[in-house]
Amino acid sequence: MGPPVSGYSPRSGSQDSGASCPLGRQGTAWLGSAASCLVLPDLHITSAGVCTATTAAKPIPAHPGLPSSRGRHQAAQVRCPWANSQPCPCPAWLEIAWGRDLQPVLKRLAGERECKPDNIKAPLSCSEWSSPRQAHRGSQPPLKVVESSFSPSRWFCPVRTFRFLTVPHVWYDPRGSPCAEGCLVRSAPFPACPGPVSGVRPHAAAAVMLPLLSRSRCLSRALNALRQGNCTLARCSVSGVPGGQGLACANSRKFVANNSSIFAVRYFRTTAACRNDVVTVNTPAFAESVTEGDVRWEKAVGDTVTEDEVVCEIETDKTSVQVPAPAAGVIEALLVPDGGKVEGGTPLFKLRKTGAAPAKATPAAAPPPAAAAPAPEPVSAAVAPPAAPIPTAMPPVPPVSTQPIESKPVSAVKPTAARAVEPGPSKGARSEHRVKMNRMRQRIAQRLKEAQNTCAMLTTFNEIDMSNIQEMRARHKDSFLKKHNMKLGFMSAFVKATAFALQDQPVVNAVIDDTTKEIVYRDYVDISVAVATPRGLVVPVIRNVETMNFADIERTINELGEKARKNELAIEDMDGGTFTISNGGVFGSLFGTPIINPPQSAILGMHAIVDRPVAVGGKVEVRPMMFVALTYDHRLIDGREAVTFLRKIKAAVEDPRVLLLDL
């Protein structure tokens, strides 16, 4: 182990960090020294590319200017190892520091320094080095910096304090994907960075570790990993956290570094490395000497999978073979396109193991409740209170004040903050979720509102005594079924009565043509019957009802219903209609006002049949009664016509003989 690099001195300037440095070339070296030096406390990398270990940085007390965040935020001291005016050789650092959540911080920093926004953009789009990891970037920002204690005066001070929220512990190869557990990482020299030190070219760090900087969340995840049993070293990290040192030492020992121009770091193995391990899953061997198959993805990049969840199916010669995830994690990359051919052993996809906690938390999902971790938080500095003996005596009752309760002026009452509701789907959860309105619904909404805006809608009510028609149905239903091979319902009576009334009051069957300022009287009666189906409301039309009898109407309704059931309804079946009957009674509606379906002028609402006491011939009798409502366009139809129309329907339903006699 070499000695730590010493002699950090403020950089003399940002722009002159050397044309050789990729960052400097973009004129944004200030960021290179700010964001890119999130050096771990225990590991420094010299410009010569030698990994050295120092003693771990001490945890820094919480920043006084910030709300107390003990247990949630953890301060970390970071240093720029290249602060001594050497070109920053290491895009890898930037790579680590990069993250979506970093952006606001950087912006703010830039503001403090009165930097132009251009200065920020450039390093954030370091795609030339980081392209291999683009995919990863999209799914999980490597680092979240929530606060930093930068101040303008300390800008060039090499020691900075960042505050972190949940730092994922990942070994990054600057050029490739995150390394797998225990793998060998070899870094090729960056051609853009010729070395300043005695012919030894500086190299990017092969892999950089971000140690446990945060406490609570990471810990609970680490505990999860521990519980999963897939991480033997988790224990080490847990014990290491409180001091922030145990882990550091454990890890630093694992570095094998030398001074050759290409160096290798072996045996990275930390909690984090275990947990965030990326595994490549290969195609399983096929049965029955089948050689190749087509891949069908069930999951996409970024999806979270649990252990044994099917990620894809491979279809070989009429057999569908499931490929399960070997562990819980997040799909990092699909290496074969959907429908692509694979053979046994072909790499299929990359999986980032995450333990139990899903790495990609959806905004709707509640954060994992801290209480869920069964183990008490060993991280928290507070020592758990020693178990006290079980009390045997009752606690003393506080003395009750003998004075009357004093009244308090309202102003003296201080609002107490409501207790924070524990996250998680509890019984009284007050969450809400938003679902995109589908176009059909938007259409319906628009149409109904248009109807309300154009028509002068008014509703008139009446009630119908159903005893007569019920009796008629009871008496004739068997013979009706025998002759017509279908049931006799009430709908036919209402449709027929409506047609009768429409002929009596032709204005209800008419419509205003707004464009020509004409009234269009229709000599035919087409009645739309609103029917609720599982797919939504459909409104098939019974045409020329005036020429039909009860049996014809029933048959047509049956046919349309059958068509609707088979999804065979054509638009023509639903198009047109001069009047609508809507039956809310099937859902038990007692009373309601329907809304006009343009281009119509009125709509009849049927409701539930309920036994009610009514006065019949001076006596109270219980009769099956139905309320009916007629909503009409008052621009066209006067109250007299509307009421007469509804009474006509009432008469024809209560006593269908009216139809016969044309009364």
């Binding site: 069908r296 499931q322 176009r439 059909m440 459909v538 088979k566 999804n567 639903m574």
Partner: protein
């Protein structure tokens, strides 16, 4: 934990023996742990759910299952197939033929009560399709020695070297199953007409079916009925596994025997499974309309993913319909299901909210009608 679950379901399985047909002694003799089940249901979704349930819940390390089932008229497509490419959906709707997507691979088949389905459940180790087919061939030979039946490399059974009587498909997951059809007396005419897709211009990487000329067993020997053939296969299976020739009848709707099966049945019936699981495809077609002695051509391009329209381009002669209306339809179609009822409902809703004009109405109706019938 996992062991517990398996044990619990095994317990259930044993219950099934005791409660239904098997005397305890009878079960003890089945050292091999092979059983023969037959479904009392003719509902494709229920029977597929049984397959699913056994696959998911039964530990088949020391047990093998033969499941015999028949369905009412149904078209069954493979797991990764495109129903619009494989069958005539319109005709199926008219004739009340159901569509189902099974969980195994392979191509599209037609089922009716004249067709037997056999499912062989084994562990993944013992999964061997040819053995199963040999067993079927042997059973048929036992029944009618003069029958010329043999299995091909594709795991089909051919009658008289030419006519396919059985097709296979399989699924390898936690356990394995291999199922095959066997045509005894199916409606061959309906079969061939329903398995012809009228939809043109579909591009996708969905698994295509391999059409073959088929024949029924009963055409070769009119005395062969489904029941006889099923009995013969069950008997052969019993001999092979040295078990008693007991066929256990099961009711796939029975939650006490198959806990959770009704959910599986429901899932198999959802639009999201049957149509939504179609691999992404694009359709690019044009159709002709005759309207008042004029003749016009409409071009439609659509991309459909998970059964929902993702991209939609309709190319109509400009003056024929208001372009705004057509554009509105395109916009509305995006995100909606690729199915005629949804498109029809959408079109009629659109029409109702557009300026009323008889001419436009007629044209619109004709256009939408043509679109749903030619596309979906």
């Amino acid at each position: 934990m996992k062991n517990m679950v398996i044990r619990a379901s095994l317990k259930n399985w044993f219950q099934l023996f005791y409660v239904h047909k098997f005397p305890a002694a009878g079960f003890k003799t089945t050292a091999d742990g092979a059983i023969i089940l037959q479904s009392v249901s003719n509902d494709i979704y229920q029977n597929l759910a049984v397959e699913d349930w056994i696959h998911d819940n039964i530990n088949l390390e020391n047990m093998q299952v033969l499941f015999l089932w028949r369905n009412l008229s149904t078209v069954v497509i493979g797991r990764h197939q495109n129903p619009w490419q494989e069958c005539n959906l319109k005709m199926m709707r008219q004739k009340n033929i159901k569509l189902a997507r099974r969980r195994s691979g392979g191509g599209t088949v037609y089922h009716d009560l004249g067709n037997i389905n056999l499912t062989f459940f084994t562990s993944k180790k013992k999964y061997e399709r040819m053995e199963n087919l040999k067993l079927v061939v042997k059973a048929l030979k036992c029944l009618r020695p003069q029958l010329d039946v043999h299995a091909t490399d594709r795991c089909d059974l051919l009658l008289n070297r030419n006519f396919k009587i059985s097709g296979s498909a399989a699924k390898l997951g936690r356990t394995a199953y291999h199922h095959c059809t066997l045509l005894c007396s199916a409606d061959r005419f309906l079969l061939s007409s329903v398995l012809k897709s009228p939809y043109k211009g579909i591009k996708s990487n969905a698994t295509p079916s391999v059409p073959a000329s088929v024949k029924n067993l009963f055409e070769e020997d009119p005395t062969l009925t489904c029941q006889i053939v099923m009995d013969a296969i069950a008997a052969e299976y019993a001999i092979y596994h040295q078990i008693d020739h007991h066929v256990t009848l099961i009711n796939p709707a029975d939650e006490t025997v198959f806990p959770g099966i009704n959910n599986k049945t429901k899932e198999l019936q959802t639009w999201e499974w049957i149509y939504g699981k179609t691999p992404k495809f694009s359709i690019s077609t044009c159709f002709n309309m005759v309207y008042k002695h004029s003749f016009l051509e409409v071009k439609v391009d659509m991309d459909v993913k998970h059964g929902r329209i993702e991209v939609c381009n309709i190319n109509l002669p400009e003056e024929w319909l208001p372009p705004a209306l057509c554009g509105e339809l395109e916009k509305n179609l995006i995100g909606s299901k690729f199915c005629p009822s949804e498109t029809t409902a959408l079109a009629s809703a659109l029409l109702r909210s557009c300026p009323q004009d008889y001419e436009v109405h007629r044209r619109w109706n004709l256009f939408c009608e043509n679109m749903t019938t030619t596309l979906m």
